[in-house]
């Protein structure tokens, strides 16, 4: 099998603080890869570097064979992403947000018209397709973001805590859809979550990152064995400690994050 995501000594520093510190890993084509860690461990920063939004301080990233830093335009054709933070246009309707995305990603009209209906039905927003997003609740916005992320079928799909704030029914629907996408179109899935049941349900391989460093990587079984625990959840807590984390790092980014949360 070939690797479709590859990082070598990936590092991001803000002053003295290393948000991501010398991270190297590979994800195989068609794999479902869970990227876990406590808050502020460096998950989102890593994803931002993988998706051309942030330049690494040093180290290399290859996505679908493209060097992400040197060739961002080609890289962007290979992936889709559901962000952790909101990224919808509140002044547009649900349908318009979907359509905007489809056109930007060059999905043919005949394909996107059908797919938008299917996806809005999946996340139970079809009845609200012509409502402005600013009138949506947090959960509805989240569902719309996920539907939008699934609209074009990329080679790699990044999901950064996609199911945050969703009820079990919706989470179930969404993971089933994602699993099918992976099986039928061999879309590589790279996701983060705090729900260990989601990891156990679909992930083939797991990496746990803490303080910017990957502390363990392997199948769920391997991780549980190495940690000497019964479940993934207890393995996670044993490996990363039981202290509650403050999100620290770049104060500028944190302020923006807080702003975005408030505006959600």
């Amino acid at each position: 099998m070939d690797s479709i995501i590859e990082t070598k000594n990936l590092t991001k520093r803000y002053g003295d603080f290393s948000a991501v510190d010398d991270v190297s890993f590979e994800v195989q084509k068609g794999e479902i890869f869970a990227f876990l860690g406590p808050n502020g461990a460096g998950k989102t920063t890593t994803i931002k570097m993988l998706t051309t939004l942030l330049k690494p301080t040093h180290g290399q990233v290859f996505l679908n064979g493209h060097n992400v830093v040197e060739n961002p335009d080609e890289t962007r054709k290979s992936f889709g992403i559901v962000f952790q933070d909101p990224s919808l246009d509140n002044e547009l309707t649900a349908y318009e947000n979907m359509q905007f995305h489809a056109v930007l990603y060059g999905v043919p009209k005949a394909v996107y018209q059908k797919r938008i209906i299917d996806l809005l039905t999946l996340v139970e927003l079809y009845d609200r397709r012509d409502s402005f997003v600013k009138n949506f609740s947090g959960g509805m916005k989240r569902r719309l973001e996920i539907a939008r992320g699934l609209l074009h079928h990329p080679k790699i799909l990044f999901l950064d805590e996609p199911t945050i704030g969703l009820d079990p029914q919706t989470r179930n629907h969404i993971w089933t859809y994602i699993h099918n996408l992976n099986k039928e179109e061999q879309v590589t899935i790279f996701f983060t979550t705090h729900h260990m049941d989601e990891v156990e349900r679909i992930a083939q391989r797991v990496a746990i990152i803490d303080h910017g460093k990957i502390i363990i990587m392997g199948t769920i079984k391997e991780i549980i064995e190495k940690a000497g625990t019964n479940t993934l959840e207890s393995a996670f807590i044993k490996l990363t400690g039981s202290n509650i984390r403050e999100e620290e790092g770049n104060p500028r980014l944190n302020r923006m994050r807080i702003n975005q949360r408030l505006m959600r």
């Binding site: 931002k48 998706t51 051309t52 939004l53 942030l54 330049k55 335009d73 962007r76 054709k77 992936f79 992403i81 962000f83 933070d85 909101p86 990224s87 919808l88 246009d89 509140n90 002044e91 547009l92 318009e96 359509q99 905007f100 995305h101 056109v103 930007l104 990603y105 060059g106 500028r252 923006m256 702003n259 975005q260 505006m263």
Partner: protein, 248 residues
């Protein structure tokens, strides 16, 4: 190219849906027209300048287009705060196309607003010399709108919040307007004002529009169009560079 279209369409939809903004943006030009236009008209006529409204109207239209364009450029900061810019920036669309779509959208919005103010100046008594020169007037207005939108976008690209907006407005946009010959003729000026107005690209926008609408001009219309076009290209280049440096 469809990416440019959808970005343009988004700007237009957002504009049409915020009626309060459309009406709000008419306030300032109306005050200028009333207070400065009618207020200074008697003195201007006594000095032998002719009808001041006739002189001022093109300047007020350029002001509207300039302010609206800059503001639309600044909407990029909003997009950043609401996270929408991320969505646009990870799409497989080259940054220059994203910039061009936004600039075209901002310019179109400004053109609509400028046209509304043009209609208001007609009510105030302004009369273009030839209705046939309107297409030329729109060409100059479009050049001003594109230049100002590109400038707004290029500046906004590296800002994180709107806190810097008053600074930019008071120390860049306002001077660009007041030192453009919009409210006074560009002749017999003190030397420093002469230099400042001549290096201000929007002087050429005001002058070009005045040429098209009133038939009087300080510069050759070809020079005016040339300056606007050239500075626009420089600004787009700068904008693309700024966009390529954005980190999120």
């Amino acid at each position: 190219m469809t990416a440019i279209y959808i970005l343009w369409l988004r700007q237009l939809k957002r504009f049409i849906r915020t009626r309060s903004r459309i009406i709000g943006a008419l306030g300032q030009p109306i005050i200028f027209l009333l207070a400065i236009g009618f207020g200074l008209n008697p003195i201007y006529q006594q000095a032998g300048g002719g009808n001041y409204i006739q002189f001022l109207a093109p300047g007020i239209i350029v002001m509207t287009v300039l302010f609206t364009s800059i503001f639309t450029g600044m909407e990029i900061i909003w997009d950043k705060q609401f996270g929408f810019l991320k969505e646009t920036f990870v799409a497989p669309v080259p940054r220059w196309q994203i910039l061009l779509g936004k600039v075209l959208g901002g310019a179109s919005v400004a053109m609509i607003q400028g046209t509304l103010v043009f209609l208001i100046t007609l009510i105030a008594g302004f009369r273009p010399i030839h209705w046939t020169s309107l297409p030329l007037a729109f060409i100059f207005l479009f050049l001003v709108a594109m230049l100002a939108s590109a400038m707004g976008a290029a500046i906004a690209a590296r800002l994180d919040d709107m806190q810097a907006f008053p600074l930019i407005f008071n120390f860049l946009v306002q001077p660009l307007f007041f030192l453009s010959g919009a409210i006074f003729p560009l002749k017999n000026l003190p030397w420093f004002l002469d230099i400042l107005t001549k290096i201000n690209p929007f002087s050429y926008g005001v002058d070009g529009l005045r040429y098209a609408l009133s038939g009087v001009a300080t510069f050759s219309p070809f020079l005016s169009a040339g300056v606007l076009g050239a500075v626009f290209l420089v600004m787009i280049g700068f904008g693309v560079y700024q966009f390529s440096k954005v980190q999120m």
